[in-house]
Subunit: 542 residues, 2 copies
């Protein structure tokens, strides 16, 4: 199953792997089909097909020095590397490289929690630290901080941030890349660099200050291929004393506009500091799913439009809210009570809106309170794996899937824009043959922008999955023509996504590739990641 890197002979690879074995020990170099198969994307939509992205081999260093030595060998043999932190990036390509034949550099053995400060509220971690590891460290040391974790808690704290991953607590924390502070990186030439205040030997504020002095280069290493990150600082949330939630319901289709306007005000001024959770009140968001209430006039016309008046009447007759938003609050009990009271007063200006008090309790979280809040552990900085039930058998997926790909475009943060995106993306889905829910809900993971998320279920039927991959590519292209760009994408689709970020005849991509050429002339570092290639491994390699 393993594939050779383009232009590299089996002999040359074998020689390089021997050198890797000298560095990390023979037990930590993997080249048998059986071993390399563990680095396949378990959710690959091209499973066992010629286009499946697969590595040639893998190597697992235990230290920064070993990473540096590996990079030097890669330069010597012009070998493409593909670094992963723990490789748990399911839905976006797992641990498989962007270019088949790349050698996975698996950093799972570098898994120390180097520091957690619960007075300045940050952590310094190595790549292999999973959310569960950090959580355990915090619990074991009784530290008064929360981490912010994505839905599946098994992945790498660093890997998730470097992929622009997101979570569920405060706005300064749930955008994981924005919350990072300081990197240590093995550069493509094997040199070790620290960014921000880490560039000053002896500085004691590497995790306090994000920029340091001069140009800030951190951004190149997230969704990028400019080096192998070996340490990362991340800001943590001080453990709050209490939690509260509350839900607002509105009656009409167009009420989403003032609803979002008020939420924006509350969020941008910090009056609510949890993840706002928008809901669609008329029925399941997956149009046509078996749980769709019969008689609901939610089915769109071919151009994506709906009979808004009929929908509003339906909502009124059934006494269903058209939209809902649940707000979450963290902080001192009296403060968050005042915040929710104020929020209610603002929403009350929307005619027909209602406010429903949710759970409110002191922290730390108990099982009873978790039950009462009717929500997930991630809202409380606790890792969880229940998200994996999504592709299991359920009312919307009668046949359990073999995984998912996520299509995740960004949408402007207004009600008008969301309503427009719902219509347009549904219509594009129909056009390209990829089922897109008509009532996509805006997700507020990022501080100031919405993302909507469309799951593409993997069936392991090559004909179906192959069609889905093509439909996904078409979807990305057409959505891009309408101004919708993805925040993150499956490795197979990254070229298509970057293609759509085409302002100035692809000036951004060209600039990135020139920068890369300046620091990685042999093109060894993750060729093709985010659609960035090099002279040695050009785009045609894809």
């Amino acid at each position: 199953m393993a594939k050779l890197p383009p232009g590299i002979s089996a002999e040359s690879l074998a020689t390089a792997l021997k050198k890797f074995a000298d560095i990390v020990g023979p037990d930590w170099v993997f080249h048998s089909d059986e071993d390399v198969a563990l680095y396949r994307d378990a959710y690959s939509p091209l499973w066992n097909q010629p286009g499946e992205l697969v590595a040639s081999a893998a190597v697992a260093p235990a230290s920064v020095e070993q990473v540096q030595a590996i990079v030097c060998v890669a330069n010597e043999y012009k070998l493409p590397l593909y670094p992963i932190s723990t490789g748990k990036n399911l839905g976006y390509g797992g641990s498989a490289p962007n270019m088949s034949g790349s050698i996975v550099v698996d950093l799972k053995r570098m898994n120390r929690v180097l520091e957690v400060d619960d007075k300045r509220h940050y952590a310094l971690v190595e790549p292999g630290v999973a959310y569960y590891d950090l959580y355990r460290h915090i619990q074991d040391h009784k530290l008064r901080v929360w981490m912010d974790c994505p839905d599946p808690g098994w992945g790498s704290v660093m890997g998730n941030a470097l992929d622009h991953g997101v979570g569920s607590t405060g706005p300064a924390f749930r955008n994981h890349w924005a919350a990072h502070c300081g990197l240590e990186v093995v550069l493509p030439n094997g040199e070790l660099m620290r960014t921000g205040m880490g560039a000053m030997p002896g500085a004691k504020n590497w995790q306090d200050h994000q920029f340091g002095f001069g140009p800030s280069v951190d951004g190149l290493f997230a969704q990028g291929n400019f080096g192998i990150v070996t340490k990362m600082g991340i800001w943590l949330m001080p453990a709050p004393e209490a939690f509260a939630s509350g839900t607002i319901t509105v009656k009409k289709h167009d009420d989403l506009i003032p609803l979002i306007e008020v939420v924006n005000y509350l969020e941008n001024l910090g009056i609510t500091n949890g993840l706002p959770d928008f809901g669609f009140g008329l029925g399941p968001m997956f149009i046509g799913g078996p749980a769709q209430p019969s008689g609901a006039p939610t089915t769109p016309k071919p151009d994506g439009s709906v009979d808004i008046a009929a929908l509003d009447r339906y909502a009124d007759e059934k006494q269903l809210p058209f939209w809902t938003v649940t707000l979450h609050f963290y902080g001192p009990a009296k403060v968050i009570a005042a915040q929710w009271e104020y929020a209610k007063s603002r929403f009350a200006q929307i005619p027909g809106s209602k406010a429903i008090d949710g759970a409110a309790f002191n922290l730390p979280l108990t099982s009873e309170n978790l039950e009462k809040s009717r929500t997930t552990r991630q809202l409380f900085g606790e890792p969880d794996l229940s998200i994996f039930s999504l592709a299991a058998r359920n009312p919307f997926t009668p046949t359990p899937g073999s995984g998912l790909m996520w299509f995740a475009p960004l949408v402007p943060r207004t009600g008008e824009a969301v309503l427009e995106a719902q219509k347009t993306l549904w219509r594009i889905g129909e056009e390209v043959g990829m089922a897109c829910p008509r009532w996509l809900l805006p997700k507020s993971y990022f501080q100031r922008s919405f993302v909507v998320i469309v799951p593409v279920v993997i069936t392991r039927d090559p004909a179906v999955d192959g069609k889905h991959v093509q439909a996904y590519r078409d979807f990305v292209r057409i959505a891009g023509e309408h101004g919708y760009g993805e925040y993150r994408a499956h490795a197979l689709i990254q070229d298509n996504v970057m293609d759509a970020y085409s302002f100035g005849d692809h000036a951004l991509r060209r600039f990135c590739e020139r920068l890369k050429e300046g620091v990685d002339p042999n093109g060894i570092m993750a060729p093709g990641r985010s659609g960035i290639w090099s002279k040695r491994y050009p785009r045609s390699q894809a």
Copy 2:
């Protein structure tokens, strides 16, 4: 006074200037001594000395296309450019270039406020937009947003952010670079690039989402020399309904430790959302100034240490607080009242501390309320120029100065670190011959790190100023050895500052210079800015 660029003949420059005149019109190319003198650093500590940084000429384009054409001519003639937004960067080098002979590209004519959105709370501005311009636009259109401005309000919104400048309102806004969202840049080869969602033609969320897809390159353009920024988005604060402040006093020297610990908790969880203002209660912070109370035992020993017990007794006898902190709150009146109440309960755990309620009033600001708050307009998002009184005749500066340079190192965000920095920086000041106040106060401009600010008064006496420049360079070096790095520096000192960010034998600087070589092979873009040079204009040029 003007100087030629290194290696460029007067004839070659004259030919290039004619080409510039063809682009922008002859009225907007400046090369007479009289005209070029306007681009001198009015606060230069090397005024009229051989080392003074001065331009060869200046050119003021009116459009993006003109900037692109200027860059193409610069490449043709290998001319170094030095872009400025409005050039009002006093204290850090004004509008003078890092390398004498550079041609200033003055962007003041590109001064349109392109958009202000008071539902999504952002602005999109051109380089020449000053804080006063943006403020007027907001007022004229009765928009419900605040901008965040630095102490002098006459500078450029974009220029300040690109220099990592800071202000005085909420934590998500007063770090101006962190609040930027989206850039348009003329690259060193003349191409036009947009970053983030701006890279997607047709995207309507350029100012909503900071990263876009793939490597984020924005950081290269702040304190950097990778291009000329022609548009920038910046997040604004929703206009709050009310303001409150309150002051905490503590009795003892070491009480700074718990004081800062509580402030950190409150800030990091958003329970206070204004700029915390720390104060020293025993007398003026400028040790030895005439207003120093006689008999105060605040004078340090030669190693920088003080008799803490004597100081604590002095504070107790005189009933003076040792330290104070004033907190500011923005938001709904009931919410901020609850926040201040909670804050008081937390500080009450420090023995001997006192809480003093400050001003509390509804907004918008009135003159009466400004008076009542006993603070500055900048706390309310209003531009001001009163800071310029600082170098005027006053109790601490009996002889009015001719300007200031700022020495601004970053300090870890704990009381222990602040106490250590006060002692160490004072001692270094004594060593190098640069007066450093013994009781430097931590400034919380940045979200998670402290900066302390030492003013160096410019006298226009060449002997004194020259000594100060050398002392400043020495200070930077020695402070760097102790782990204190500047967040920003005067153009004259930037090489010294970057020198101190030396981890991995200057790996960060080398990486930046390699990146730059990849995109600016002729080295035309601001040679030497932040200590980043190129093969064509190497460091020895400095």
